[in-house]
Assembly symmetry: C2
Homo-oligomer: 682 residues x 2
């Protein structure tokens, strides 16, 4: 019997060679191929003799991803992975540059070649789907698209069978998926073949020095993808489950998120390749979002984690009118736009963790005069930042959110921090019959919840900064009011101190979590001290984090009284912007160190941030990013010569010098240290 | 009994804290300490309770080298490592810049702090020695100095006990020492604790990302140091033996070579740190050496390795008058200064390998009219390059060398390639009584032989390019007529093809062998073909090697008739200089890839060379080394889009574009490929 692929319509195009005709045997045959614009990466789709579909990835002609299976286990209509024939292919190319309303860079280039390969089952029920691949020089994305078709009105996906088989031996940086603490784990560095089940982004470095990150883009109305290792260096998509027992239920037509691979020769290039996550998302659907102002903010927050104040009402209640006024005054004095107040609303006095049914998002506690405070803030050019902790009573929150955002809009509150504090898999969803079931933070239902919040907020010109969120898959391009989120171990672990984040933590984050998008890490703890163990950082490193860890809402997280003791260092935090015209990664190694240069979007100034792990570093940095021929005053905030995170963390020097683009700076970072520089254009 | 160190005279100086007073117990005590100028590295000397001496190295306060023993086993006077007391310390600092007559950069900065610690045996015979440490921010050197003293007129060193104990787990790149093939091994990459006995430079990368290279500087009248692993990550100096059974015999006063550690955060910085090898050598003793002209050369050489011509006289003899004229014409036509002729002299017709007693270095074979050829060369602005293969009959060569160099001087031959082809340990030395004994290429006697050659050559204004040499320890600073050498697997292995050098070979060399100094690698085989297996390189990579592998005498190694088929590529070889005003390493990983930018010493032009191993690479390179505000024409010689070392190695593109220092180039290197660029200043 001839291979069904042999009957496929051929569509030889410049970018795609339809090779099925060559090998119409029982062996696997490459049926379609697409190369990146610079002929760096190539993706091939194969059909085996039994019509089983797989893909592989090559770079410069050498294997990166070996034959990896594609397909689904669908409820009712059965497994969809064999007896497939290629029906047609189509190709497309793009080279366009688009503008971000805010971001790490103003202009993003989208340069890729696309292959669409349409497959049909050769046996009943004759289901059809497309595989769409977009290949960039520094990575790729592919997704499944199910067109409208007879006999398949909806798909109930029990499992997505997509595999990722890594060719070369590799080291992985990863956190476990499907565990209770969501994304809040320290990154492990292990041989790739010792990973169990990982969240994305998962980052690898092969023995040959290639850097690869697995993630997904445009996770909409679908379940988040975990990566489960099945054998050796073979991984399979493991979708977060739904309470119904399946993973995803969708009416046709629909498409999956993009499964993405970023592939680069260095850690620095890997970070830069993250633009492909945005490029694989749909353009802005909100139109003008200039009402959102990237900015720094302070808040009644660190004191709560220090337990010197409480969310709950009573003697130690943080969110009082008087205390908030103090923060507003502090923010106004130093030019910080936002004041976050946690514990402002009823619901905190009982056991709210994972049980947020007492939360009211439309009125304040009696000791918090929200009307007067918002007016006072406005009079000083400051805006309150809202806080919507759900305690995972998510349907309960959805009942109120429209009214809550209306209140925010009226009071000039244009950023809201949301929260989903409960163990993973404990998101509470009320069904239409009133029963309550539990969902995963990254399951299909909660993915859709986040969309509902985003759209409700957008109607009221409110931006969302979600904590304990679903992972970032670049949706900020489409809904640019999704400005930041948590989704990793943030600075709060430094307050708790049990244990604190180790010195390598941020150098891990940059090349893993941060590949996915902005993080509200809440840096700037210049006191260097939580409740227990001291924070494992130098003072200068706290400043550098404002440049290193991108977020358009960037917290100035320490107590006002602590900043009063660090006026010289505070100058950098006052100056550093939260919105950038351009971003360059000057050097870095995963988990070791990294140096960023970013250009202010509203001036000709540049900023540099460099951080290291527990090892001191001496880094040579050419200032080639500066405008040639222009002189800049470099305001340097560096570790003191005797600084060390363990026993001399506050040792710190501020100094100035004149520099030009022809200079090469030597950055001396202490163990656990960092360096921050503002380059003031003259 | 009080520790003898407690009686030491204290000498507290700004750079050195004499800490012996603190801990006068039976425990080890730090008796002296010196930090690098930027407080990056610190070296501490310890005396144990039994007066045993050791050192350790810290970087940013964290251990890099753990307690490592110092001392000697001396014949007659016994082991010198216990019962030591600190007699005195002295410190010194230097920050000076000196000029090289030729090199990778014109000006070299020597910025270090020095500690001299003088020790005395507290028991008979009361021997004395100093340990001198020089600490730079990117490495250090230390040596032993034996002052003149009663009762010890000479030292016969049976073993040097210096240890190097690496603190962090590390990967090593190394070649075996004490094996038959001298330095001509492929670099192995293994865990550090799987090294057996290695030559220096040996390069490590710790799990924390620190790069370390062990080597030695100023190896004069001493035996070369191998590194023998004794346990775990503990290494001990293993000196190359002398025929007498000892390792070294020296009259007092004398000092050892510097034992050096280069320590940097990246492979690129490790390469840059090699200046310390030169800084630890003595200044130029020859004065004006402007008679040496860094230049490219061609030669009757590749044909010999292809076996289409022979060294031996007869029908296929390469070194004939007519054939040499052809090479002189080719050199003159393309602007290459030198013409090497191997096989020009008697001695090649028998079994000369390891048996060079038939070699005559003062007259040519009858079919090689050396007088006419040198006159013809001079008339065309070309210079013959001499060839002195000894076949390891080294004393036999020494008998003739002064006359040989006099002949060279008379004929305008100002560079001589020497050779020592025999197995390691088979250097033939004639004793005064006429007996012949065998020495190691890197033993004390042959180290002194090289010095004798160098000094004889200098008297006749001849520069030396030694093959099968002793390793380079930076003596070119002191004797700048030692211009290059081999001492690794060169291109000749590509002719033999059994097996050829693998694609990673040059990316290994850069970060190991090349740390020690120039290498006469003989690149430019554009035919890409030896006798057997094709060379594992693309064509563009052959061009890039002229920038990547530094040598002031750089061969254009292929046959003239082969270059005639590659006129476009040959343009780069014509243009590229062999002498540089400055050198920058733009990126790199040991054994993976590297990119150099070098500035011509005689123009404002810059050159870039980038090479990779068996993996293709996409490298972002800011052109910040260019002069700001100036436009350059970038003449790019790159791999074709479909190039691959294995099956499409000749695919190659030459193209031009205008660039400035503000541009960032994307270098696309094919698997096994490279890229060469000339930036012509406008």
């Amino acid at each position: 019997m001839p291979d069904p692929a042999c009957r496929a319509r051929t569509a030889l195009a410049p970018l795609v060679a339809l090779l099925a005709l060559v090998a119409c045997t029982a062996q696997a045959a490459t049926v379609a191929r697409v190369e990146s614009p610079g002929q760096v990466l190539a993706v091939e789709l194969d059909l085996s003799g039994e019509g089983r579909l797989s893909y592989r990835v090559q770079r410069f002609g050498e294997p990166v991803i070996d034959d990896s299976r594609l397909g689904f286990r669908l409820r009712d209509s059965g497994t969809l992975e064999r007896n497939l024939a290629l029906a047609s292919t189509a190709t497309n190319s793009a080279d366009r540059t688009w503008e971000q309303p805010w971001g790490e860079r103003r202009f993003v280039r989208d340069h890729h070649n696309e292959l669409r390969a349409s497959f049909t089952e050769t046996i009943a029920p004759g289901r059809r789907f497309d595989v769409v691949v977009r290949v960039f020089d520094d990575g790729l994305g592919f997704r499944y698209e199910f067109p409208e078709q007879d006999g398949l009105a909806e798909a109930i996906i029990d499992d997505e069978l997509t595999e990722f088989v890594v060719h070369d031996p590799a080291t992985a940086w990863w956190i476990p998926a499907g565990e209770w603490n969501r994304y809040e784990y320290l990154y492990q560095r292990t041989p790739l073949d010792q990973v169990t089940q990982a969240h994305t982004p998962m980052t690898l470095r092969t023995d040959g020095g290639l850097h690869i990150a697995f993630h997904e883009a445009a996770l909409v109305d679908y379940a988040g993808m975990w990566l489960r290792r099945t054998e050796g260096q073979r991984f399979r998509a493991q979708l977060a489950p739904a309470s119904e027992g399946w993973k995803v239920r969708r009416a046709l037509p629909f498409h999956t998120p993009w499964r993405t691979l970023q592939i680069a020769d260095s850690a620095a290039s890997l970070y830069a390749s993250s633009d492909l996550i945005l490029n694989l998302n749909e353009p802005n659907r909100l139109g003008d979002v200039s009402w959102f102002k990237p900015a720094k903010y302070v808040g009644i927050w660190w004191s709560l984690h220090l337990e010197t104040e409480t969310w709950a009402t009573g003697r130690k209640h943080g969110a009082t009118t008087a205390n908030t006024k103090r923060y507003i005054d502090f923010a106004a004095e130093h030019g910080f736009r936002g004041v976050l107040v946690e514990g402002w609303n009823p619901g905190w006095d009982g056991q709210w963790f994972g049980n947020g049914y007492d939360f009211d998002f439309t009125r304040a506690t009696p000791d918090f005069d929200i009307e007067a405070l918002s007016a006072y803030a406005t009079s000083k050019g400051v805006h309150l930042i809202g806080h919507h902790e759900t305690g995972c009573a998510v349907s309960h929150y959805e009942d109120q959110m429209d009214a809550a955002f209306a209140l925010d809009e009226r009071l000039g509150i244009d950023v809201v921090k949301t929260g989903y504090v409960c163990d993973a898999g404990q998101i509470e969803r009320r069904l239409e019959d009133g029963r309550v079931v539990r969902e995963w933070h990254d399951g299909q239902w909660n993915a859709n919840h986040h969309q509902r919040v985003l759209e409700a907020a957008a109607r009221h010109r409110v931006a969302i900064n979600a904590h304990e969120p679903i992972k970032d898959t670049g949706l900020r391009r489409t809904w640019p009011n999704w400005v930041s989120r948590e989704g990793a171990r943030g600075m709060e672990y430094g307050a708790w101190g049990n244990p604190t984040n180790p010195p390598e933590h941020e150098a891990n984050l940059v090349f893993t979590r941060m590949l996915s998008g902005p993080m509200d890490y809440t840096p700037g703890i210049l006191s260097l001290q939580g409740r227990g163990q001291a924070i494992q950082t130098t003072l200068a490193k706290q400043l550098a984090l404002y440049v290193v860890l991108y977020s358009p809402v960037q917290m100035v997280a320490d107590l006002p009284e602590n900043y009063a003791r660090h006026r010289e260092a505070l100058r950098f935090i006052e100056d550093v912007p939260a919105d950038w015209a351009d971003t360059r990664v000057l050097n870095g190694e995963v988990g070791d160190f990294v140096t960023f240069a970013r250009q202010d979007r509203n001036s000709a100034d540049w900023y540099l941030g460099s951080i290291t792990d527990e090892h001191g570093r001496l880094l040579q940095v050419p200032l080639s990013f500066l405008e040639p021929g222009r002189t800049y005053t470099a305001q340097v905030y560096r570790d003191g010569d005797d600084a060390h995170w363990r026993d001399n963390a506050s040792s710190f020097v501020r100094e100035e010098r004149e520099v030009t683009s022809a200079d090469v700076l030597t950055l001396r970072l202490a163990a656990g240290g960092g360096q921050a520089i503002r380059f003031v254009a003259r």
